[in-house]
């Protein structure tokens, strides 16, 4: 249990760092929220209207930075992220609520798929070392994972959506897809998600592949594997009970960090495909200098990644008996 307790403490600490970074960074930027708000009016604004608007947006009388910080933390704990400036007066939580399911769906599902496929291929590549197919997977994976996400996305967009017209160019749904969760709606959703998902899948599978391959190769030279073969176990048994479980463990520890990278990459993918998830809104918020929205999305992303890490740590405890007793 101390293992889990440590993980919880780190989780909370990291969240606090994320929240503080969130607070500090935008305030280091030249310019202030007020002038950002004024940008909406393209400069043609009467000074008295400016004052009144400031009051309406809650941007007056902000107090010292320290007091701002604590009231920010306080509001954070209540889940009050304020109102978006670019989409005023929509509360930020509403915007996030709309965007979150798309990102969870897109990123969540493709990450799991990518993990499964990458691990399976990595297992093959490591176990059948020396065969051409298995060996070729390594340089191919290196190339795939060195490609810029967004460039690949653009190429996909150009070939499959623009030229071949097999998939739509942007968005998450057709204009009138029908009621939610009907067949037509699902078909629309899946057709729009196909290219972004494929992009994320292809560019992230390489990393899993190589990690798993390396793990498998390491495991293959362990004594217990030789012993298992000596016992005359079938190859299937060796692979499933001896190789896979042991090779997966290190992959799991890096899963959390890899998730952070995948989230980052998905932001670029969402931008290219204009897929209305969190990444897309984060980009819009940055372009529009909408600080409340920016901060909230960053916080949610950090929270999601941290929670995913924590979940992985939990799974790790289940899978690795050595960890259960703190003897990792």
């Amino acid at each position: 249990m101390p293992y889990l307790l440590r993980k919880v403490v780190i989780l909370v600490f990291t969240l606090w760092v994320a929240a503080t970074l969130n607070f500090v960074l935008p305030r280091l930027v030249p310019g202030d929220p007020v002038s950002v708000m004024l940008a909406k009016y393209q400069g043609r604004l009467d000074p008295s209207a400016v004052d009144a608007l400031k009051i309406a947006y809650g941007l007056n009388d902000l107090g010292s930075p320290v007091s701002q910080y604590f009231s920010y933390l306080g509001r954070l704990l209540h889940g009050d992220f304020g109102r978006s400036i670019s989409l005023f007066p929509t509360p930020v939580t509403d915007v996030i609520g709309q965007a979150l399911p798309y990102t969870l769906g897109l990123v969540g599902i493709t990450t799991i798929l990518s993990f499964v496929i990458g691990t399976a291929l990595g297992l093959y590549s490591g176990w059948r070392r020396g065969q051409t197919g298995a060996d070729a997977l390594t340089p191919v994976s290196l190339f795939l994972s060195s490609m810029p996400y967004f460039w690949f996305a653009l190429v996909m967009l150009y070939v499959f959506a623009f030229q071949l017209k097999w998939f739509p160019l942007s968005g998450a749904l057709d204009p009138f897809p029908g009621a939610a969760f009907t067949a037509g709606w699902w078909s629309s959703l899946l057709r729009h998600a196909a290219l972004p998902a494929f992009t994320i899948l292809v560019t992230s599978v390489g990393g899993w592949l190589i990690t798993m391959r390396n793990n498998v190769v390491s495991v293959a030279s362990e004594d217990y594997l030789a012993f298992a073969r000596a016992k005359g176990l079938t190859e299937r048994r060796i692979l499933s009970r001896y190789v896979l479980r042991n090779a997966l463990l290190p992959s799991f520890t890096s899963f959390g960090m890899a998730l952070g990278f995948v989230v980052g990459g998905s932001i670029l993918t969402e931008i290219v495909f204009s897929y209305p998830g969190l990444g897309f809104y984060l980009y819009q918020a940055v372009v529009g200098l909408d600080y409340p929205l920016m901060q909230a999305i960053f916080f949610i992303i950090a929270l999601a990644v941290l929670l995913a890490n924590f979940a992985v740590d939990l799974i790790n405890v289940l899978l690795d008996p050595r960890v259960r007793e703190g003897r990792a």
Binding site: I10, F13, T14, V17, A18, N22, L25, P26, V29, R129, G130, D135, T138, P139, L142, F143, S145, S146, M147, P148, Y149, F150, W151, L154, V155, Y158, F162, I210, S218, D223, Y224, A226, F227, R229, A230, K231, G232, L233, R237, R241, R245, N246, M257, G260, F261, V263, G264, I267, L268, I271, G279, Y283, V286, V287, M294, F298, A302, V305, P321, R322
Partner: protein
């Protein structure tokens, strides 16, 4: 091993991966460096018409505002490479500094830095950079570089920290600290050089991250878009609707450049990683399968195990190392055969090769291994799998890792039986409990995980598993070497007991001759890949024939009796990669016959019934006079190259005769 010394570098550059990676990098570098020579246009000048198609004058056409794309591609290489290299460098410096500080200073500093690393690792990088990037707009290339380094150091710091932690415990570092070297010197002269490979690999990883980050940031317009990098080229292409205009090359070429640059970094990173961890590399060359050579059919024999003229070697690029040379050995049913020899003499290789557990680059080069008359080397993989464990089993060296750490012991006991057709749960359970009783472990150990058991218990479990299917032969490779003496004794007694009761033949491999003398029926002595003597145990003990055996015997102190000077055997065994003519023991033999022993091909001669020796002192073809002279010779061989241990000048005669 993690050091990039000259040998390492040579190995590094012999790999195709490194060559390709470095090659791509050099080409791109040259592109950027020689840009003014390769194109005469300024990448920023707007003088041309927009969206011109590909032509000789404009190999990649022009942009939406009339700039030559090919010129932009070439000049863009400079800034892109600069960002990659500099940001990678800064991130690596940060990683090294923080990782090493944390590892070396330990304590709360380590905790604090470790926490910092964890936080940075988990915080999603790109969103962080995007938020921080509001600084970056229009600010030139340096804010971009700094922000990327700031978010990219954590991964390297974690890796370097754990490596430094491991190095800190190594003896050469401890020695340096103990001898009073300052912390600075220890870090820079002892630890850092040994991590050079890892640091280099880390640099390439960080550079890759930097290039991709800069591209991503520029693409979404966060960063200075008036500069010319491959990332900003993509930004402008997207912003000006290149795809709609059909100018797909404007998007394809910078992106491809980034992908190639990234790949080259990744290849170099991977290659250097392989260097430090050779197991990760390409599979060693598969030596030709010698196992099915039909030429040598096994000579008929009623022995349980009959090894005939076995040749085993390791095939490397530098040549073949012959680890087992022309070994012939027989084990009768129920017999306890000891196989002794010093480290590196080939006994483990023999055991693994005979049971077909030898991994490449090891290979059987000739000979047969017959179990119950069937040549093990000629079996198909499925036949072998069925024979394994039922006919013969193997007990490994008592290492930490012989049992699968993530499975319960019970499963590992069961699966040996399940693989051979026993599936009834009740039968499995009963048998497992019986086996454990046999080797003296309590049944509750079945539900434990391997890491919960002590070394001795683990080894007992392994022995229990080895007995599971009542094989007729068990090969034990140093089963008790890693255990303490008391436990050793217990286990040996149990082995002895079990063997007698069940009538199992045992081949017991060890370097500890004294053990074998007590327990074995017969003993074989190996030296430099050859079996130099085989005899019943008591005869070997009383009348060792081979000079090597004699000297081995002299090395044991008796439990009782006066304390006497012991003698070791000066010198070292010959390198097995060498081509050896004659007797391998020649250089260290006190009874050598120059002109005979070092020239004639080695053969085995009979001393008495069941006692054979591979020594020319017993060669009837050599004149008796010569042999007797040598046998009685007392002069020790010339001093070897390295300082010898004490030499007992007393007598070179067999031990028994001094009594």
């Amino acid at each position: 091993m993690n050091a990039l010394n000259l040998g390492g570098l040579r190995r590094l550059f012999s790999q195709p991966r490194t060559v390709i990676g470095a090659g791509i990098l050099i080409v791109l570098l040259l592109m950027g460096l020689f840009a003014p020579l390769l194109t005469r246009y300024d990448p920023n000048s707007l003088e041309f018409d927009s969206f011109l198609p590909l032509s000789v004058k404009h190999p990649l056409g022009t942009t939406a505002i009339g700039q030559d794309i090919f010129a932009q591609l070439l000049y863009g290489a400079r800034l892109t490479l600069l960002v990659g290299a500099v940001a990678g460098l800064i991130a690596t410096v940060l990683s090294v500094a923080l990782g090493l500080t944390a590892a070396y200073l330990g304590g709360w500093v380590d905790e604090a830095i470790n926490a910092l690393i964890n936080v940075f690792l988990v915080l999603p990088g790109l969103p962080l950079v995007i938020i921080a990037s509001a600084f970056l707009r229009g600010g030139g290339i340096w804010p971009v570089i700094l922000v990327i380094s700031f978010t990219g150091w954590a991964w390297g710091a974690r890796v370097l920290r754990s490596q430094a932690l491991a190095l800190r415990e190594r003896d050469f570092v401890q020695a340096a600290v103990a001898s009073g070297e300052s912390s600075g010197r220890v870090i820079f002269m002892e630890i850092l050089p040994n991590m050079s490979g890892l640091i280099a690999a880390n640099f390439f990883g960080a550079a890759l991250y930097a290039v991709l980050s800069e591209a991503g940031l520029s693409f979404i317009g966060v960063g200075d878009v008036s500069l010319v990098t491959w990332g900003t080229m993509l930004y402008w292409a997207q912003a000006k609707g290149a795809l709609l205009q059909g100018a797909w090359w404007w998007i394809a070429t910078p992106g491809l450049g980034i992908a190639l640059l990234g790949t080259s970094f990744a290849l170099l990173n991977f290659a250097i990683d392989e260097l430090g961890n050779p197991r990760l590399g390409r599979a060693p060359a598969k030596p030709p399968r010698q196992g099915r050579v039909p030429a040598s059919t096994p000579a008929p024999s009623d022995a349980l195990l009959s090894v005939q003229h076995l040749e085993v070697g390791y095939v490397t690029r530098a040549g073949t190392v012959r680890a087992v040379r022309n070994v012939s050995l027989e084990v009768n049913p129920g017999e306890f055969v000891g196989l002794a020899g010093e480290s590196g003499c080939g006994k483990s290789t023999l055991a693994f090769a005979a049971t077909r557990l030898l991994d490449p680059p090891g290979a059987v080069l000739g000979g047969t291994v017959a179990l119950n008359g069937r040549d093990l080397l000629a079996l198909s993989p499925e036949e072998l799998r069925q024979v394994r464990w039922k006919e013969f089993s193997l007990v490994f060296q008592a290492s930490m890792n012989v049992l699968n750490p993530v499975l319960k012991v019970r499963e590992q006991v069961y699966d040996a039986m399940q693989a051979h057709g026993i599936h009834d749960k009740k039968v499995l359970e009963a048998r497992a409990e019986e086996l454990f009783r046999l080797v003296g472990i309590r049944e509750s150990a079945l539900d434990a995980y391997p890491h919960q058991l002590s070394g001795g218990m683990k080894q007992r479990v392994v022995i229990a598993i080895a007995l599971a299917l009542e094989p007729r032969l068990i090969v034990m490779d140093e089963p008790t070497t890693a255990l303490d003496v008391v436990v050793q004794r217990q286990i040996l007694q149990e082995i002895s007991e079990v063997r007698r009761r069940l009538g199992i033949a045992v081949v017991f491999i060890t370097h500890d001759l004294s053990l074998l003398v007590e327990m074995s029926d017969r003993i074989a002595i190996m030296y430099a890949g050859e079996v130099v003597e085989q005899a019943p145990a008591h005869e070997l003990y009383r009348q060792p024939a081979h000079p090597y055996t004699q000297q081995l015997m002299q090395a044991f102190p008796p439990m009782t009796g006066p304390r006497e000077r012991r003698s070791g055997i000066p010198g070292r065994p010959p390198a097995l990669s060498e081509q050896l003519t004659g007797c391998p023991f020649f250089a260290r033999c006190a009874k050598r016959m120059p002109g005979i022993c070092d020239v004639k091909p080695l053969e085995t001669f009979t001393v008495s019934e069941a006692h054979t020796v591979a020594c020319f002192l017993y060669d009837p073809a050599v004149p008796l006079a010569t042999r007797t002279l040598a046998l009685n010779a007392g002069t020790p061989p010339p001093a070897p190259a390295h300082p010898a241990t004490e030499v007992n000048l007393e007598s070179a005669l067999p031990y028994s005769q001094t009594n």
